[in-house]
């Protein structure tokens, strides 16, 4: 589903160039559950932004469902975000003083294809918040807020759900609840990409990509190969 080749990203601030991502190459297949791991400043958030069409790469190639999306304009990217991506953020990013239903409904406002509003009720039910449907966002607990955010991410039936430190602002119990919802999603075939610096959270995923200083330092499939090689060597 995602093919990245020699992805390079730099930021220019007041003529100072900062290299953030160096020559990353990897593929992600449909239905995978991946963690992108790394300490803060490793470039994992930037990588998520690029993969989620919030940002563009400086050099290299990004193919999404076989289509080169490296050089799309802002409106095309917005359309792709709307159609194919669902985001879950660390700080929830719900609209203030707005009902759960309206928050979940938000992506449909910007959808080019018309969808039935009943989907909103369905996704709210799927995260177990039907009884909170008419509550305002500020009346919810942290765990509930994040479940609303997940419902919002799902309402447009996206290809990929990105979760950026989804448990970062939650207590461990709500954190586990959120992670199990994400795992459930993946079990039902949704591609989930988790961005985190916590090993315990990352381990919920089936595959872990590790970044450090903008470089890919390990991919667990590579890791398995290394193990396989070393096993061979042992023989």
């Amino acid at each position: 589903m995602i093919e990245v080749k020699n992805l390079y990203k730099e930021f220019t601030n007041d003529d100072v160039v900062t290299k953030v991502l160096h020559e990353l190459s990897f593929d992600i297949k449909e239905g995978e559950f991946i963690s992108i791991m790394g300490p803060s400043g490793s470039g994992k958030s930037t990588l998520m932004h690029i993969l989620g069409f919030l940002d563009t790469l400086t050099k290299g190639q990004y193919k999404f469902r076989g289509q080169d999306v490296s050089n799309l304009d802002d409106d095309k990217l917005a359309e792709l975000r709307n159609k194919s991506i669902g985001f879950v953020f660390q700080n929830f990013n719900l609209l203030p003083k707005t009902s759960v239903w309206d928050n979940v409904h938000l992506p449909l406002l910007y959808s080019t294809t018309k969808k039935s509003a009943s989907i909103v009720d369905q996704v709210i039910e799927s995260v177990g918040l039907t009884h909170r449907k008419d509550y305002l966002s500020n009346q919810l607990s942290g765990g509930e807020k994040q479940r609303v955010a997940i419902a919002r991410a799902l309402v447009n039936s996206p290809d990929i759900v990105f979760a950026d430190e989804p448990t970062g602002n939650l207590d461990s119990k709500s954190g586990l609840q959120v992670m199990s919802i994400l795992q459930e999603l993946n079990k039902n075939g949704k591609t989930v990409i988790l961005v985190t610096h916590e090993t315990s959270t990352a381990q919920h995923a089936k595959r872990i990509i590790k970044l450090k200083d903008g470089k890919l330092i390990s991919d667990d499939s590579d890791f398995k190969q290394i193990i396989a090689k070393s096993l061979n060597n042992l023989k």
Partner: protein, 410 residues
């Protein structure tokens, strides 16, 4: 199905999240629009009041003042300068020579102390000829007005207010009063007229013209004359004829040398109308400045809102809003704010104008309640313009935000 309507209703709901602020933001527009509507309406009401009063004096009424008219402005005599070119004989000649003239009255005015027993008032005494009642379309309430034969008599007719001041509830007829120490017999009391034109004639006392000239003022001229025309007379033609007769009387050959000014009520109305119009537009323009201030207030608040809602904008972009969606949202929000202000302002402006007209009528003025459609349409277009102008820059700023920066904005 997701309709476009729910999308726009969403924008209104955003404003409802912050009701107090939305209201305060609109307040500038509310006050601005209300004052424009009110000023235009009250101005039109005041204009109607003056016009009605002048019309009340009779639309086929012609006034003749001594002294030449200067550049269309009022003659010097109207400014209080005494010019002696007009006489009672001129008035009589006009009536004699012109069939168009129905009645003519000559006036000369003086100020003095009027005394009855131990009561005295300072008032205007008006020396008038016997046709005064006919020309002014008024009548006596008690007694009678003096006749042509009594123009030399020592009699007086009191204005209703003067009578009240001097006599209270007593019957004044045949009582003797003093005007500047000269003794007069009261023969009549005028009916109450209210303030007609610019002066309150109820407070005056009316003395026969020649008595006033000879015994009170010691003059031969008259202050001005008024004449009424026969029904259906073309007033422009009548004015030409009047000027011809008066030129003859004064041995003047050249129109430029005329030593009198002839004015019809229509003339006066027109001149007055252009003055009050100019005043109204000026006041409305001043009020419009408050609209501009109001719109700057809206722009300011919208700019604050863009900063405050940076993360919200980032989120909207993250879930698929295009730059055009964001700018449209902010533009519509501003338009809703300003049109809300506009509508409330129009309602308040009309209500106040209506209240003013009620009070004015209660006080006995002939006041029309006028709301000009023009001012309402102008106000509505102005608020929409204000909304667009005030919303454009903040909307552009919001739309230009980078989604990643907006999402991570602290």
């Amino acid at each position: 199905m997701i309709s476009q309507q729910s999308k726009y209703f969403m924008f209104v709901r955003v404003l409802l999240r912050n009701k107090t602020r939305s209201f305060l933001t609109s307040l500038g527009i509310i006050i601005g629009i209300a004052s424009v509507i009110m000023i235009v309406s009250v101005g039109a009401g005041a204009q109607s009041l003056i016009a009605n009063q002048i019309k009340g004096m009779g639309s086929n009424l012609i006034g003749i003042l001594p002294g030449a008219s200067e550049e269309g402005g009022p003659p010097a005599s109207a400014m209080g300068v005494s010019i002696t070119t007009l006489t009672y004989n001129d008035a009589l000649e006009l009536k004699r020579q012109l069939p168009e003239v129905k009645a003519v009255a000559a006036y000369v005015r003086g100020v003095g102390t009027i005394t009855y027993q131990n009561k005295s008032i300072d008032s205007t005494f008006m020396g008038v000829s016997d046709r005064y009642i006919e020309v002014e379309d008024t009548s006596v309430e008690f007694g009678s007005f003096f006749t042509k034969e009594e123009l030399h008599a020592r009699v007086v007719v009191l204005g209703s207010e003067a009578r009240e001041d001097l006599f209270g509830d007593l019957d004044p007829i045949n009582k003797r009063i003093k005007i500047n120490k000269e003794s007069f017999r009261v023969v009549g009391v005028m009916e109450e007229r209210g303030s007609a034109g610019f002066e309150n004639q109820d407070g005056h006392v009316f003395v026969p013209l020649e008595t006033t000239q000879d015994n009170l003022l010691g003059v031969n001229h008259i202050g001005f004359m008024r004449l009424s025309l026969v029904e259906g007379t073309d007033s422009a033609f009548a004015i030409q004829e009047i000027r011809r007769v008066l030129r003859d009387q004064h041995d003047i050959e050249n129109i430029e040398q005329e030593d009198f000014t002839v004015q019809s009520v229509d003339n006066a109305l027109e001149a007055l109308g252009s003055i009050t119009d100019a005043l109204n537009y000026f006041l409305a323009a001043v009020a419009a400045i408050s609209l501009i201030v109001g719109s700057i207030g809206i722009m300011n608040i919208m700019l604050v809102a863009v900063t405050e809602r940076t993360r919200e904008i980032g989120l909207r972009k993250a879930v698929g809003a295009k730059a055009s969606d964001i700018s449209r949202q902010f533009l519509i929000e501003t338009l809703v704010l300003s049109s809300f202000g506009g509508v409330i302002g129009i309602i308040i402006g009309i209500s106040i104008s209506w209240a003013v007209s009620l009070v004015a009528r209660y006080l006995g003025y002939d006041w029309d309640f006028v709301v000009s459609i023009f001012s309402v349409v102008l106000s509505i277009s102005f608020t929409l313009l204000v909304g667009l102008a005030a919303g454009w820059y903040p909307a552009k700023k919001a739309a230009a935000l980078n989604p990643v920066e907006a999402l991570t904005y602290e």
